[in-house]
Structure formats: C-alpha cells, structure tokens
Amino acid sequence: MFEHFAGTENYIASAELREAVNVALALERPLLIKGEPGTGKTLLASAVAEALGRPLHTWHVKSTSKARDGLYVYDAVQRLHDSRFDDKSVSDIRAYIRFGGLGEAFRSEVPSVALIDEIDKADLEFPNDLLHELDAMSFKVDETGDVHSAKHRPLVIITSNNEKELPDAFLRRCIFHFISFPSPELMAEIVQVHHPDVEQILIEEAISRFYWLRELPELRKPPATSELVDWISALVRGGIKAESITDRVPYLGALIKKERDLKATQRALKSYASRRRK
C-alpha cells in the first residue's frame, strides 16, 4: 500500500487536496499547486513532509534563478579565495559544489519532499529546463562528471502564483490541484487550529465579518487566511466582545493593508451601519 497524506494537526487540507497529494505520491509525479494568495500553497509542502515523516528540501525560485541553481552551484569564488592561502587544498572541485533544494532531495538517503516555490517567478522557459531532471530524477554535475540519481523518488511539490503561464510539456508531467479559497466552514476549522481557546461566538462573528469584507468589490487586495488569524489574535488581546464587531471593524489595519482599500472599507462600513440603523 502507498503512503497516505491526511493533513496534519495544524494544516487542514480539503478532501480533494489530500486526494491530489496521494495521487502524486502513488504515481511519483510532481504536484503543481496553484491558488489565491494566502491559501497555504507553500505550507502544504511542510505539512506533507511532517505528516509523512520525511525531510523537506526547499528551493525558492527568484526572477534570476536558473534551472541548474536548484540542483547545484559551483562556488568558483570560494575556490579562488581559498587558493590564496596554503592551508587548504583546492584541487578537489567537489568541495566547492553546493547542492540546491532539488539536488539535495535527489541525493537524499531517505524518501523526501522537495518544494519548488513560486516557479512562475523565473524566466518563461525555466520549467522546460527542468523537464529531464524531473522525469529522470537525476542530474549530472558538469564540473566533476558525477551523476546523482535519486534512490527514492522524492515527492516534488511546485507552487505557482500565475504570474506566467507554464509550458504545456511541463504541465503534462504534473498532477495539478487548485486550492480554492476556503469555505466559511473550512475556515472555521482552520481558525480553530490557530485559536483553540477563543469563544465560538467571537470566531463566528469574525468569520462572517471577514467574508463580508472579502466580497467588497472595491478591494484591490482582499484579506486572506493569515490576516484573519492575525485579526482574531488582535481582537482577543484587545478584549473585544463579539457583539461589538457587528457594525464596526476594530483593528481594521490587521485585515486591510492598502491605504486605498482602507478608505474604501471605511466608506462601505459607513453605509452598512446606516442601513442597519434604519
């Protein structure tokens, strides 16, 4: 039987997300995760690693990243530096090969989880440059000629924020899951994990307030899960009662981060409050 991911104590995953992880595990294919900001794309990898008891290797992709960086980097500068002193031999290039997150995962002695975070940040052709390595789960270090092949195919989790379209050839090799924004019910579970001791009524009011805010059409950046969790912490510390958030939003700054959005929210709150009074 295969390993099975069922979420963790701190990471609530929807049934469909769990299914997608398990398919990726069983087929040993990369899992591509997309979704709105703040839906826990990046956290998924550590949750899966924790649940399966596997080590996690992370590679944060930047706009300047090259596909090879995730496998290894040859640190010629360090080698040059070392060559100025006699205390160390620089004849062994292997001492100057630094492995990247993906490289480490391939080299791992035990089954591992590799996270390629925000793959869309890099160049358009970047994902294509990784096709071979992801298929074969092996790579060659050109400087030394060493070939590193995965003893255990790692579970590769890839996140994308949709900044760029990914190439078809790459997509075909992936299992795909889109994390939609949590429903209020799932959100209540998620909040429960972070705030187990807060009274139920306050959480309910806060969540309904939060979804009301998210639906304001004027907002450029609607608040996400982490903002809600922070906001509830602020409410608890400020000793705010549930009934007082029905027609105002204390600590609005915890939820709304843009000045323009703040103004829009305040306008909406005013008209909401005046409607309630009528």
Binding site: E19, N22, V23, V77, E165, C174, I175
Partner: protein, 398 residues
Amino acid sequence: MGDGDVFLEFFYLLRAQGIPVSTREWLTWLECIEKGLVAADLGRAYSVGRAVMVKHERHLDTYDLCFAHFFGGAEAPATLHDAIDEWLNTPLPMPQLSPEEFEKLEQLDLDKLREMFEERLKEQDERHDGGNRWIGTGGTSPFGHNGRHPSGIRVGGQGRNRSAIQIAGERRFRAYRSDRVLDTRQLGAALRRLRRLGKGERADELDLEETIRQTAQQAGELEIVMKAPRENTLKLILLMDVGGSMDDHARLVEQLFSAAHQASHFKVFKPLYFHNCVYDSVYEEASMRTKVSLEDLSRQLDKQTRLLFVGDACMSPYELFSVGGMINYYEHNSRTGAECLYSLKTLYPHHAWLNPIPERFWGHPTIEAIADIFPMRELTLAGLSEAIELLSKDVPAS
C-alpha cells in the same frame, strides 16, 4: 480495465470541450486505475481524474460540467448570472430591412436623440425586443442594441453596426485581466525582445562574477569579462480600447495583455484603457472608474516611455474630429480626439498602434486618419514584431 472504455469516452468528451488532454494524461489515468487509486468509487474517479486531466484552473468548470453531464446525465445548472447574461447576450436576430425601410429611418440629430432617449427611459420599465419605439434589442428604434437605426444610442449589448453614436446606460466592458488566456507564450516571446532596449548594445560594465569565475578556471590567470548593463530601463504604456466594437477582438487583446503583464522584465508596465478614442484622460482599469489625465500621465512617465496602442480605430468621424463628440454620454470633451492623439504623440516619441482588424479592411475613414498619426500594424505575431521594431528604434530627442 473494463472501466477504461467508459473513461475513454469521457476523455474524448473533455477534449471536445476544449480541455487540452493528451495521450500522456490518458496513460497517467490508466496508471491510476492500475494502482487502485480509483477503485469503483465515482467520487474518487472525479477527484483523481481532475488532478490528472486538468492542468489549469480555467478548465475546472468545464471539467465539472463534463463530469456531471457524462456520469450524471445532468444539464449544466443555469445560474442567475447566466439568465441575466442571456437576456443581454442573445439579442433577437437583426431585422432584415429593405433599403426603402432603411431610408425611412431618417438621421436624427444628436441632441434630439438624447432628449428622446431620456424620455423613453423614464417611460419604459421592462424588457422589450423588436418594435420601433422602446429601448430593447433587435428593433428599429434609435435606442437599444443590435438595432438597425442608422444613427442611434446603444444601451448595453454588443455593437454590431460599428458606429453607434453614443453609449449611455450599462457599460459592460470586459476586464482584460482575465485568466482565461490561451497560448500567450508566443506573444510573450515577441514582447521579450523589448527587453534588449534597456540592456544596450555596448558591453561597458565589468562582469565581476564572470571575471572571477573565468580567472579561477584558468588557475589565476586574470581574464576580464565585460557585459552590457543588465538592468532593463524600458517603460511601456499599453493603451487599450475596450468595449463596443472591440468586443469582437476581446480574446486577441486579452492574449496580448496577458503576455505583456506576464513579461515581468519591464521597468514599468502601465496598462491604461480608453473607449473608442482618447480624450483628455484615460482610465486605469477596464471598468473605466479611475481617470488619469494626459497631463498627469506625462508627469508620471517620461519621454523615454514606449507607447503602444491597441484599438480598432473605428468610430464615428466626429468622435475623432468634433468637440463634444466623445462617445461617453455623461462627459464632454473640449479638445477633439485627434488633437488629444497628437498631444500623446508628442509626449511619447516612441509609439505604435496595433489594430486587431486585418490590414485589408483598413478603408474606414477614422482608421486612415489615425494611421496617419501613429504607425499602425495588424495585431498579429508579425505585426507585433514590427511594432516592437518601431518602439525599439532610437528617436532623436527634439
């Protein structure tokens, strides 16, 4: 493996509905069955199938519809939104008017049209199709949409006869920032050539890392490597015509927008919007809520900024040449559209215009007039490449 046959049909349904599944997805699916991931459970077939077959969120909805249809025999659920959309999007077919009838509809003058429009709007409170008086669809009254009155005010809907004089009422501009974009990669690759501009041709900056690397590789023998400055200084304004006759080209424009938006290599990328013609201001979003005056724009972005128009340049001649001729019913322009275009041309010496209408149809008077002001190219891959050439050229500062 008996399940496979049923699913093969489903697989072809997905393909027919536009989800780009390939043999590779099919083999992956068979692998899932082989490994017992699916069993005889339809719920799991749904989620496993989705994880394997669908590779983009824009296809999720189609997948759901196909699945419900194929396994449940269900019709696509009609939502309220769909009903409203239907009301507006499927107008009655255009009446075929005889030339005599057409002549009878005399050209009404603009002020009289406005007056009548407001009167009618007050009188009318329900949907109306056909006929010759009320505001609705498919009629010969000067008001409404898809009608055949030679000079009329359009109310919502898609402009079929490209010269609706003024728009009042609903604005249903498409937001081009859509995720439903297909194959933008070619356009993206073309746009990437705009990056070279900022890099400069001359390699006059010391490439420290490469120098060290090469020196190290030669065991300390110094090897100096020069490079062109890496930073891309290119600023781009993408000024897009939205709504009206442009709705026909929405997909193409979406693709270009999405490609430009994703090409994150510009120093500044500023998408702006207008409707039919540019006057003293343009808008920050396709819904045209926030205005930016040309004056403010010139303060924000200097002469080096590249200006790329996307529009069909089709409008009533007086939208371009008359004071007060702008299509937006609620506003008034004191300079003509042509004057405003000229001032933009002077503000930004690097400019080009992309027209989604194929070049062989460029006989329209306002297209010709605008092509005189801005170099115009077709909105095709080839046209875009040419426009990029134009934008890349160094214009002597005058």
